[in-house]
């Protein structure tokens, strides 16, 4: 080992730089309050590693992004865990960033000669927030889609340059195929590159000026009490980083990784769109401002805050780093922070106090769970928004193919019987009571009306109830046997057999097996069959694949199940 190290030292000369890096003296001695910067560095490392790993499966395309994230989440070994680390690691970075900034401000470390490093830090903070914004959209789920739309529309509302800027950021006039690759390129190439560059500068400048030791220590005293970075500060940094990592892991395990909502669908609403919690203060502020004042939240406040922070070292030129010596600036800084915290608290409180919000969240989560479950059957090439339960598929098919004549639940045309509640006891009873009602066979241009059709039989309620049970028996549904037998008798004695026959075609439809699955599938194939509507038939069945016919039959039969 020793000889190998000597060999390497001969060729690379690593020892001196490594020693300078590790044994750098920390003036005033190692302290716990210095751990936040290195914890940020560590967490950024976690983000880099988990981010690269996620990129092994993630697909930045509008049709596949959600599916690839779902795949990472539910199929890839420990994919949910690594994605969770990335999600909660991002939150940890924002928290650590705030604490690091607070500690830097409190120790007056922005003052001469560290002005430039403070500015570099402010820029890095902006990049971390840009990471959060771009990353939020990448799963292409409803939450990220709607929340990020708000952000890019805010950009669009900026005077003069807003529209151009918005179109460049989102890749055109609307979110589409061009949007995700841009956000992805920013998130995985541009922003990491910028952050790594600034990080190098930040560390270089930090090493040049060293830690800002407590203001009450005289410089000579600080030098006298100096300790080397390794292992004194490194042990504290390492333990704290480990604690941060443990917290990230704990959150990941507790929440089973990061959330993924239903796939982004501009046609489907998402009424619980919220930005990530650290942007909630801006979200809350927007609620209070009239539209004309929007520029306050989009430009003036963020821009002003950035400008103020960058200018701070030049505004506060007093020589002392003690907090007591810069009360005005401290008041401004902590006041702004208190404002942000208060607005964040308000936003959280308003949602928590609103029972409707909790219901909507529950509904959104149910919707998400439905899509996640459906995805296991395989996602169609057109994307996950095409995933649907058999009922949803049948309803769409119905609206598309049958809705041109039949109404269902208030939608569709009225040139055929209304199929709302079709096949239930109530529907059949209403039909027997008045076959020519406008929502039954009395629709406009009905042959039923024009050519006589089934007359009003003036049936008693008891007869109707009995006939309904008999039809349920023929349909193969659970029924009351006694009543059904009475119904059968009523069919034979009540004059129905003047037109209807049982088991063979006659003037009116053959009632054997009426409303059963076999009958329904025949209806969906050839309603003009002499056993069905014969020459009075008006139903034109559109071309249906066998699978579609079965889907429709299943659905229509399910409408009356048990009713």
């Amino acid at each position: 080992m020793g000889r190998l190290r000597d060999w390497l030292e001969d060729r690379v000369g690593y020892r001196q730089p490594l020693e300078r890096l590790l044994y750098e003296p920390v003036p005033g001695g190692a302290r716990w309050r210095y751990v936040f910067g290195s914890a940020l560095l560590f967490t950024f490392g976690v983000q880099l590693v988990t981010g690269v790993l996620l990129a092994f499966h993630y697909t930045p395309s509008a049709t596949d992004a959600w599916s690839s994230v779902w795949y990472i989440q539910e199929n890839v070994t420990l994919g949910w865990f690594l994605r969770g680390l990335h999600h909660f690691g991002a939150m940890a970075m924002v928290v650590l960033l705030a604490v690091h900034a607070l500690q830097t401000f409190a120790s007056g470390a922005y003052k001469k000669p560290r002005e430039l490093n403070w500015i570099v830090g402010v820029l890095m903070a902006g990049i971390v927030l840009a990471f959060a914004l771009t990353g939020y959209l990448l799963p292409w789920d409803q939450k990220g889609y709607y929340a990020t739309k708000v952000a890019t529309n805010m950009v669009g509302s900026v005077p003069l340059v807003g529209e151009a800027l918005q179109q460049v950021i989102q890749g055109g006039n609307e979110y589409g195929q061009l949007t995700l690759p841009r956000f992805y390129a920013l998130h995985v190439f541009v922003l990491p590159g910028l952050l790594l560059g600034l990080l190098g500068l930040h560390l270089w400048l930090f090493r040049r000026h060293g830690v800002a030791f407590p203001a009450h220590l005289a410089p000579e005293e600080a030098v006298r009490r100096a300790q080397p970075f390794w292992p004194h500060q490194a042990a504290r940094d390492g333990l704290f980083a480990l604690a941060v990592f443990a917290a990230i892991v704990a959150l990941t395990v507790a929440y089973r990784g990061a959330p993924i909502f239903a796939p982004a669908d501009p046609a489907r609403p998402f009424d619980v769109a919220r930005p990530e919690w650290y942007f909630l203060f801006l979200f809350q502020l927007m609620k209070y401002l009239p539209g004309d004042w929007e520029i306050l939240t989009t430009v003036v406040l963020p821009g002003g805050a950035l400008l103020f922070l960058c200018a701070l070292p030049f505004l506060d030129r007093g020589p002392s780093r003690a907090l007591a010596a810069r009360k005005g600036f401290a008041a401004a800084f902590f006041g702004a922070l208190a404002g942000v915290l208060a607005l964040t608290g308000l936003a959280l409180y308003e949602d928590a106090a609103d029972p409707a919000f909790a219901e909507k969240i529950a509904a959104a989560e149910k919707e998400a769970a439905k899509f996640r479950a459906l995805a296991h059957q395989g996602i169609p090439p057109e994307g996950p928004t095409a995933l649907a339960t058999p009922e949803e598929k049948a309803e769409r098919l119905f609206a598309d193919k049958c809705g041109t004549c039949h109404a269902y639940q208030g939608k569709g045309a009225k040139s055929a019987p209304d199929l709302t509640g079709w096949g239930t006891r109530a529907w059949i009873a209403a039909f027997l009571k008045n076959p020519k009602a406008p929502d039954k066979y009395g629709y406009e241009k009905s042959n039923f009306v024009k050519k006589g059709g089934m007359p009003d039989l003036k049936l008693s309620p008891q007869e109707i109830a009995a006939l309904v049970e008999w039809i349920f028996e023929e349909a193969g549904e659970p029924h009351d046997r006694k009543l059904a037998a009475q119904g059968r008798k009523a069919f034979e004695t009540g004059g129905c057999d003047m037109c209807h026959a049982y088991g063979k075609p006659f003037k009116a439809p053959n009632l054997q097996g009426w409303w059963s699955r076999t009958w329904l599938e025949k209806m969906l194939r050839d309603p003009a069959d002499p056993n069905l509507f014969g020459e009075r038939n008006q139903m034109k069945v559109p071309p249906l694949a066998d699978g579609e016919r079965k889907l429709l039959a299943d659905w229509l039969l399910s409408l009356r199940k048990g009713r």
Partner: protein, 169 residues
């Protein structure tokens, strides 16, 4: 820097913290990266697919047709897509169906009138699929087929390339 017991202890603490965090990240990372190993991430339908009426295939010469089947590719399920192609020749009382995939390194073999040739490494095969020349270790892969109602149906399979025996890939 002089060594003291306190320094030694702190070094161990710092090193251990780094090692624990590193391992906690590295182990899941390796398992995650190995995920596709031994897994059938792409699967095509294993039932017979119709490739055309038997009469549409010429007698005495090979015709190339695509096989349409179902494909599951990671998360995507495509109900009907070309999953591969076959060379078909009809003869009196027999039909020859070969995969177009060269059993050497999976280029697409071409019918040259009297024999098959691979454009990549010059493997050549007889009309009965037997290996004639080149680096391939076996003949062309015949595929299971049947005729239903006058329509030729093929069960499409991809085999591992560059082996003497035929095992599904």
């Amino acid at each position: 820097v002089e060594a003291t017991p306190r320094r030694g202890f702190l070094s161990i603490v710092a090193g251990a913290a780094l090692a624990v965090a590193g391992a906690a990240l590295a182990v899941p990372a390796v398992l995650y990266l190995l995920f596709p190993w031994g897994r059938r991430t792409v699967e095509t339908g294993d039932d017979f697919s119709p490739v055309g009426p038997l009469a549409s295939f010429p007698v005495g010469r090979f015709k190339r047709v695509e096989v349409i089947s179902r494909r599951r590719d990671a998360w995507t399920l495509t109900p009907a897509v070309a999953v591969g192609a076959v060379w078909v020749r009809r003869e009196e009382g027999a039909v020859h169906v070969f995969s177009t995939v060269c059993p050497h390194l999976a280029c697409d073999v071409e019918w040259k009138g009297t024999s098959f040739e691979c454009p990549c490494h010059e493997s050549a095969y007889a009309p009965d699929g037997a290996r004639l020349a080149g680096p391939a270790r076996r003949g062309l892969d015949p595929l299971e087929h049947r005729v239903r109602d006058g329509v030729l149906e093929v069960r499409y399979v991809r085999f591992k390339p560059d082996t003497a025996e035929r095992t599904p890939a």
